[in-house]
Subunit: 281 residues, 2 copies
């Protein structure tokens, strides 16, 4: 679940997601966007129950759903056999794995998909804050009696020449807004250097790390990554922080994988149930 200024994006929805959302005290009805990376059960089987819960809770607001083309038919099949009536519109947009693509954007955030390499067609997702407008300092507005036109020019980053010939420098008259932040979710994927291009420079990268380095061959064969490989992508992409997850059940915990990743990319943490990360600039 990614919260961007109280807009909530759910990325993947495995079985039991509703329970996790309740544990996390997430306001389910505030979820307006769900993006599904691929159609393996652990990534989408919780979706049908969640969509049905939305109806039970009386949702009428439209829901935006992004995922592989076959997902829409599956939803319709489940609704058909249950003879259930959805109480809200579902806007489905099929993802593709040819190229990166903007799935949604508004004034403050954009959601992109990008291809990864898994056994079946799979995409990662990338959420970016939009750059915020410059804010003109209040005392400058008052002191110089700036006109609306002058203020709007400054907000666009332009310096302003006044009727009396003086110049108001944008750099001086404006607050610098905090740089926009970004989060990438690289889903299930084998090591693929192209992923580092798609997620270049994000503040926080989730990359799966199913296996340890000794199991590299098995990772490649099953289209998964090792902790070292995840860290290598993070390093190549020069991300701010890496969070690894999707750890194989063969490991009692993520400790060894975390150590392995940190050798290559020190600012790495391991995902765990209920973990909350603040995306820092």
């Amino acid at each position: 679940m990614v919260n961007v200024h109280e807009k909530q994006f759910l990325l993947d929805c495995g079985e039991g997601t509703q329970i996790a959302l309740r544990h996390g005290k997430i306001r389910m009805m505030r979820i307006d966007h769900i993006a599904i990376s691929h159609l393996h059960g652990d990534h989408y089987l919780g979706l049908f129950g969640l969509l049905s819960t939305f109806s039970l809770l009386g949702r009428t607001r439209a829901l935006n759903l992004y995922g592989p083309p076959e997902l829409e038919g599956l939803i319709l099949s489940h609704e058909k056999v249950g003879e259930s009536v959805r109480g809200y519109p579902l806007h489905f947009k099929a993802t593709q794995t040819e190229s990166a693509e903007i799935l949604f954007e508004d004034g403050s955030v954009s959601l992109e998909s990008f291809p990864v390499r898994h056994r079946i067609p799979t995409t990662g997702f990338l959420l970016r804050e939009k750059p915020r407008e410059l804010g003109v300092k209040r005392d400058w507005i008052a002191r110089l009696e700036l006109t609306l036109t002058e203020i709007l020019s400054l907000k666009r980053g332009e310096d302003v020449q006044r009727p009396d010939g003086t110049v108001v420098l944008c750099d001086q008259a404006c607050h610098v807004p905090p740089p926009p932040r970004s989060y990438a979710f690289a889903a299930d994927t084998r090591y693929w250097e192209k992923v580092a291009e798609w997620v270049q420079g994000v503040n926080l990268l989730y990359h799966e790390a199913t296996f340890d380095a000794a199991m590299k061959d098995r990772a490649t064969k099953t289209f998964h990554s090792t902790a070292t490989q995840a860290a290598r992508i993070a390093a190549k992409a020069e991300v701010g922080q890496l969070v690894i997850g999707h750890v194989s059940a063969r490991y009692e915990n993520a400790d060894a994988l975390l150590e392995e990743a940190q050798l290559v990319f020190p600012n790495t943490v391991a995902a765990s149930d209920g973990l909350i990360l603040e995306v820092s600039r």
Copy 2:
């Protein structure tokens, strides 16, 4: 989950069933029969993940699945989109809602379905132990030097006339085996007296009790039952014990519904997560 002499029957499989099975320390791979009452999400959405887990755990033994005809297509759809290969045969038998029917039987147990009345086609399920053979007392075999033919006759419940003219009475020579037990799961259903006929005399009856008596109209409209109605079916069917469940989330707990049912049918308990009931004779 019904355990009949270590044969395990899973009746319905809502989302999160795998977690419940793990909490209950149930040996998942020992489940050879799964029966789905109807295709509302809370009764079947955990099935796809469970079937896939069986493959991950290396299952090769066949699984018997019973449920509405559309269920098989849904399973195939999910397997297709995930390009997943099942490691074991799945024997699917479609249920129907015209009449009661034996879905499976072997030497020790039978599984029947019976129609109930819900918003969509739905069946309940009934598990019956087979009557056990009579056991001829060991000391009688030794003392009278009974022949194999004589023993088999006694086991069939017949008295035996011996070559010397004496008669060995079955009642005296045999242990009386315990009477077979039975459990009925009436799934989701509105009050329907026919259900009492299908489950007549079972030792333990599960009957849903979604609402309290004051909400009878809503129960009828939504094809659910009140606690009083569940208890009335139990009384009519002269069952040994009643367990009520599927309590609406509007109630904080099942206490009031339990009291209500007990007024009509005193030997009632309320289902709860992890509850284990021994079916008594």
